[in-house]
Amino acid sequence: MSATATNKRKPTGLTFTNTEKIYWPKEGYTKGDLINYYNSIAPWILPHLKNRPLSLKRNPDGIEGPSFYHKDAGEHAPDFVTVFPVDSKSSNKVIDYIVCNNLNTLLYVANLGCIEMNPWNSTMQHPDHPTWLVIDIDPSDNNTFEQVVETALAVKEVCDKGGLPAFCKTSGASGMHVYIPLKQAYDYDQVRDFAHIIAGLVHELVPDFTSLERSLAKRGKNNIYIDFLQNRPGQTLSSVYSVRPVPGATVSTPLEWKEVNRRLHPGQFTIRNISKRLDAKGDLFKGVLTGKANMAKALDAFGA
């Protein structure tokens, strides 16, 4: 291989297709707008995707068309894409996950019609050890956003009690996500159990409108689901700064805890206004990548 001084050629395999296709009919936003958004947000989102296998969720016809998961996307990916092979026990074959470590990959994935970026909780270097714990606050249609806010504040209260750093973001849809960065010393089972404990303590604080019940029938129609089961191998939430396939082209946006109050509205951050906020606030999720919480200490603090 010979090194060249200039490497500004567009990499082969990166061509944008159907950029005029309407993805958000109400707003008139196109696939091109989506690609432009990820191009502009790349410096902010890439650190949060780095080295994490992606579960691609493709919406090739925009937010009103059908979507499908495409995990084995690495097989046909161009050379600039990092691929992480995973032996799948269920289908008895090797699944090549795309790992988004550079701008070109991000734009390639967006061009596949991926509105959301869904990274693993662990990295390809230590696939069995999550770097963070997530609590997914997932309301039913009958919950108010105020109740979502109250639940998020209950998560914060539990984390404070355990001496755990906690970072909050809007899901971009109707819920909120709380991230707790961990020492990379725990396996998925341990992290899931720990998340279960946190969710249980949160439920004790706001028992009237929350539930830990996965089954919809048992959960009740008026309860917020405190989902701790997202802490399992291969499970993914939409990344911070990911767009969501919902009207308004909302973005999963990190928040300061003081912003988590009655005035917060889930639809207020979109691909149109997020960059202004980032210029003012910086990356509020930076600490998620550096924090190293100790579960044993937190358990002691919880009084276990």
């Binding site: 074959k93 390809m124 270097q125 230590h126 696939p127 725990y186 279960h196 249980g200 276990a304």
Partner: protein, 261 residues
């Protein structure tokens, strides 16, 4: 059934888009390894043979022993050796099926035509049936090249992976007698063979080990000897879960203490 490969089969100018499904399944029960004491699942770790410490994925490489030294191969080495990615099996020749020794046969797969390929699929199938022949081609799967034959089984095309010549051992190392048998003995043996000859019926043979084991499992599950794995779907018992998790974290803590001292 889940397709494990999609691609196309070609012969001459005809191209048939197909999905490939495994034609066989394992009939043995899948049993989990557990700790006798508490029925926790057994997990495997990749550890350094010398230090006994776990090795992270990023630090694991593959090597081949040459003399007393390892030659380590990296990703680019594998790429250089692997075949070009291909989703197409071109039939390069046709053969009489009985020419191929059964020793060479490996995994069979069913082929299902894509909507656009149904006519060409049926055509190839009928031609193979009429001619009593099978096609030979190369299949690229999991970045390895496999020799395969494509035969017709009634209306279904079956792709059968077959071994390369170097994968089948030569029996020359074994002590095999070449003595001629005495004619009367041979005559007797032949008449015995003829008496026991009947039409081959695969359904007459059964592997009943798994059935027996399953019956045993069901009986044990009904009786009181079965131990249900603890926790799972415990929603209110935060306290118990805390104790469990604390116990699971303890070995990690004591080893870090050791490191510190």
């Amino acid at each position: 059934m889940k397709a494990i490969w999609t691609g196309s089969i070609g012969f001459g100018l005809v191209n048939i888009p197909v999905k490939m499904y495994s034609a066989v399944e394992d009939s043995s029960l899948s049993l989990d390894m557990l700790d006798k004491k508490d029925h926790a699942n057994i997990r495997f770790k990749r550890v350094n043979e010398k230090t006994g410490k776990e090795v992270p994925w990023e630090n694991i490489v593959k090597g081949y022993l040459v003399g007393d030294k390892y030659v380590v191969l990296d990703k680019s080495d594998f790429e250089k050796a692997s075949p070009e990615k291909s989703k197409h099996v071109e039939i390069t020749q046709f053969v009489n099926l009985e020419e191929i020794d059964t020793n060479y046969f490996e995994q069979p797969y069913y082929l299902e035509p894509d909507k656009t390929g149904t006519r060409a699929y049926a055509l190839l199938c009928e031609a193979l049936l009429k001619s009593k022949k099978a096609g030979i081609g190369m299949l690229v799967m999991h970045s390895r090249e496999h020799l395969c034959l494509i035969k017709a089984q009634e209306h279904t095309l079956v792709l059968n992976r077959i071994r390369f010549a170097e994968e089948v051992r030569d029996p020359a190392e074994l002590k095999i007698p070449t003595t001629k048998s005495k004619p009367p003995e041979l005559k007797m043996a032949l008449s015995l063979v003829n008496q026991l000859t009947k039409k081959f019926d695969i359904s007459a043979f059964r592997d009943d080990y798994s059935d027996k084991l399953m019956k045993l499992i069901q009986a044990k599950a009904k009786g009181k000897t079965i131990k249900v794995a603890p926790m799972k779907v415990v929603h209110s018992n935060t306290k118990d879960l805390m104790e469990q998790l604390k116990a699971s974290l303890t070995p990690a803590r004591s080893s870090s203490r050791k490191k510190a001292s």
